[in-house]
């Protein structure tokens, strides 16, 4: 899709680069490690979370290897540590920071027409705090890991567990500060740093999603911080607020934990929704359907996420009336979620759809998110949950949301913005192959787990009756395909860094402000502050034209 410019489109290629790109201005190690440039910090985060993604992936590989045979390969104690560390690392060291700290960091200022985030030093500090917490979790892992499950339920975690629970809990505690700093930066930036004309209802939906997720992060994380702090105190001194011997209530831990960790699911999914809302209009070449409905859905998801936490505790001994209320509230979540799915679907209608790799990932997201969402409603039903709680059905459900949906969107974003970030085009056919492989591998891995859960296979068990081996083997085989699909982009994207074709400023013909500047962007983004005159996603599928947010008309 090459951009042939018409008379008004002279500004699509900046004529001569008056300042070097952010990648080439300063090449010392110090210029990277002490940078205040949001784009470089985004790349630092990208390196960190990719590392933890593969660490968590190794733990998952060992788990699936173990479950390939009914008697298992690993010692039961080792298996317990593997699924715990898989959960902790994937949740706090990949999924929660994944899209906000990388693409959010890189593109929120570009999309709103700002020269940087509001607090660049806080942004850099966030990366250092993240890595500090990463070192603590690696310490816990190398010393032998924790074996409480990622939920740290008391009194198992405070009294009975033998692993490095204190270190793991402190890692989560410290990690929270990184989340808080990042989200604070986004909220203030989006409020105060928008370019002239960039009104709230002209913000790209990705920015709205980052705003919604920042609010959830900012208000949920301190509860987890206090919760893990109290846990660490109790683990350290031996007496604490969750200790039943002194009248403490272990359920209180669960309430406070899920008060954070349910919204945490929305922390993972909201930015992914934002990414998909960018991809679908761009590759369907038509405006998003129901823009204002999408923004309202995002914000209602952010708010509703705080009123559903106890649906994780239906069988933990809460009252039946509380259960009914939380079940009902959980059903309410389906409304904005469904609005989003319908709007993405309708956005394809009468479009001129291009099946490039980012679009394949986006369509995969919508399908996997729908499966994950519908099975979520099944689990929200009180009577069904009594049967399915603690089975592989739950595992399959939340992996459809967190891995199927969020990681697909992460890879979609990575491909979509790769030309802008690096200035290079990736090999399209390899990318399409990886996108399809991800979808196939993912479904092969996790769909059998729905069936296993329905049959009654308990989660966190290192062994199972031999009759379930074929389903488990299918799941493990799918996991190996999924692993290939996740490693593949590392190879061809790495190749494209050196051998890929040079990218133009706007290779996809997209409308956002980030595409009006050169690829890769100059150090301070905009030489002059852009003026926004129109809403995002002004694509015209019939005339094959689009209008950027600065109001410049282009032919495709």
């Amino acid at each position: 899709m090459s951009v042939t410019t018409v008379e008004r489109a002279a500004s699509v290629e900046p004529p001569a680069r008056s300042q070097p790109s952010y990648l080439t201005s300063g090449n010392t190690i110090a210029s990277w490690l002490l940078t205040r440039d949001h784009k470089r910090i985004a790349l630092l985060f990208l390196a960190s979370i990719t590392f933890y993604f593969f660490i968590g992936g190794i733990a998952a590989t060992l788990m699936r290897l173990n479950l390939a045979t009914p008697q298992g390969l690993l010692q039961p104690a080792v298996y317990n540590r593997m699924f715990t560390m898989h959960g902790i690392i994937m949740v706090w060291f990949f999924l929660i920071p994944s899209i906000p700290t990388t693409f959010g960091n890189f593109f929120v200022p570009l999309m709103i027409g700002a020269r940087d985030l509001a607090f660049p030093r806080v942004n850099l500090a966030s990366w250092y705090v993240f890595n500090l917490s990463g070192l603590v979790v690696l310490y816990a892992l190398i010393m032998g890991g924790a074996d409480t499950g990622w939920t740290f339920y008391t009194p198992l975690s405070t009294v009975y567990a033998n692993g490095y629970v204190f270190a793991a809990a402190m890692a989560v505690f410290i990690n929270g500060f990184s989340s808080i700093m990042t989200s604070l930066n986004f909220i203030v930036t989006i409020h105060r740093m928008r370019a002239p004309g960039m009104t709230w209802m002209r913000l790209p939906l990705f920015v709205w999603a980052i705003y919604a997720v920042s609010i959830v992060m900012l208000t949920a994380t301190p509860v987890l911080a206090m919760d893990t702090f109290l846990l660490a105190v109790e683990r350290f001194i031996g007496v604490g607020l969750f200790d039943p011997n002194h009248g403490g209530d272990p359920l209180l831990w669960q309430h406070m934990f899920w008060f954070y960790s349910h919204p945490a699911v929305y922390i993972m999914i909201l930015p992914a929704m934002g990414v998909v809302s960018e991809l679908i209009p761009c590759f369907a070449r038509r405006p998003i359907f129901g823009y204002s409905g999408m923004t309202i859905a995002l914000m209602s998801l952010a708010i509703l996420s705080f009123f559903v936490w106890a649906h994780h505790m239906f069988v933990a001994g809460i009252s039946i009336y509380a259960g009914i209320v939380f079940s009902l509230m959980t059903f309410f979540v389906a409304v904005p979620s469904a609005i989003k799915v319908f709007n993405w679907t309708v956005s394809l209608h009468k479009g001129s759809i291009v099946f490039d790799a980012p679009m394949l990932y986006a369509l995969g997201f919508v399908l996997l998110f729908t499966v994950g969402g519908v099975t979520g409603l099944m689990l929200a039903t009180l009577a069904v949950d009594v049967d399915l709680h603690g089975t592989y059905f739950v595992i399959a459900h939340f992996h459809y949301i967190m891995v199927g949906a969020t990681v697909s969107a992460f890879f979609g974003a990575l491909h979509y913005w790769w030309p802008k970030i690096t200035g290079r085009l990736y090999p399209e056919m390899w990318a399409r192959f990886a996108a399809i492989l991800t979808y196939v591998g993912f479904n092969l891995t996790f769909f059998p787990q729905f069936i296993l859960g329905y049959l009654g296979m308990a989660r966190r068990s290192y062994t199972y009756p031999a009759v379930w081996q074929s389903w488990n083997l299918l799941s493990s085989a799918g996991a190996s395909i999924l692993a290939v699909a996740y490693v593949l982009p590392l190879l061809y994207l790495g190749w494209s860094l050196f051998r890929g074709l040079k990218a133009t400023a706007n290779p996809w013909g997209a409308t956002g402000l980030e595409w009006t500047i050169s690829s890769p962007p100059p150090k301070h983004n905009f030489e002059r502050t852009p003026v926004v005159v129109t809403e995002p996603y002004c694509y015209d599928p019939e005339r094959h034209t689009f209008v950027t947010q600065e109001g410049v008309l282009h032919d495709e």
Partner: protein, 216 residues
């Protein structure tokens, strides 16, 4: 007096006004987070206070009321001097601002000294969980929960106050000395002041929870 014209806005801001505005919003957003952090702790306190009213009342009688009350007066006064310092800075009265900030920091230190003395009295009274704890009549096993809350809450508050004192000293020894705070631009001092008042407000909530409820 102060030469604020030497302060240039950072690259991402159009002017100093936007920069100051943004800094203020930043601290308020941060305080939302802090409020929920302490809110979660006070929430756990109320959960147990409602579950074990007699035991908590019995345990709370051992809290040193005069220390808490004097500290409340000290912190409220320090917030007043802090606000007056910002006011003086905004109007360009540099000497007055410096004096008031020194008084503010000194009041903060006085709070910590009294708090330290109170901790010493607590030690004498055997109310330090695990280290030296003697269950008093009427408080049962839940009394220890009160004291865990007491140590965690006052400890976290003291850490916040120390950060506040450090910020005031940073203002005095670095930003003001370099002439970066004056009538044209005083947002950094205002941010520190908002944070300082927050630490004060936390004590306003902890004080009745620890020292007053159930004592009659």
């Amino acid at each position: 007096m102060t030469n604020s014209s030497s302060v240039a806005p950072e690259i991402q801001f159009a002017n100093l006004e936007q920069q100051g505005d943004t800094a203020q919003l930043g601290i308020w957003v941060f305080l939302v987070n802090e409020t929920i952090f302490f809110g979660a702790l006070i929430f756990t306190y109320f959960v147990y206070r409602i579950s074990y009213p007699q035991e908590f009342a019995a345990a709370a009688k051992d809290a040193v009321l005069w220390c808490g009350s004097v500290n409340l007066a000290i912190l409220l006064t320090s917030s007043l001097t802090m606000v007056l310092a910002i006011n003086a800075g905004a109007q360009g009265r540099r000497q007055e601002m410096v004096t008031l900030l020194i008084v503010t920091a000194a009041l903060g230190c006085a709070f910590l000294l009294i708090k330290g003395y109170e901790y010493y009295l607590d030690f004498q009274d055997h109310v330090v969980p695990v280290v030296d704890f003697a269950t008093k009549p009427g408080e049962g096993s839940a009394g220890e929960l009160f004291w865990i809350f007491y140590w965690v809450a006052t400890g976290l508050h003291a850490i916040h106050l120390m950060i506040g004192i450090a910020l005031v000293l940073y203002m005095l020894l670095w930003r003001i000395r370099r002439g970066e705070i004056g009538s044209a631009y005083y947002a950094p001092l205002e941010v520190v002041g908002i944070y300082w008042s927050f630490v004060d407000v936390v004590w306003l909530f902890l004080y009745p929870c620890i020292y007053l409820v159930g004592r009659s």
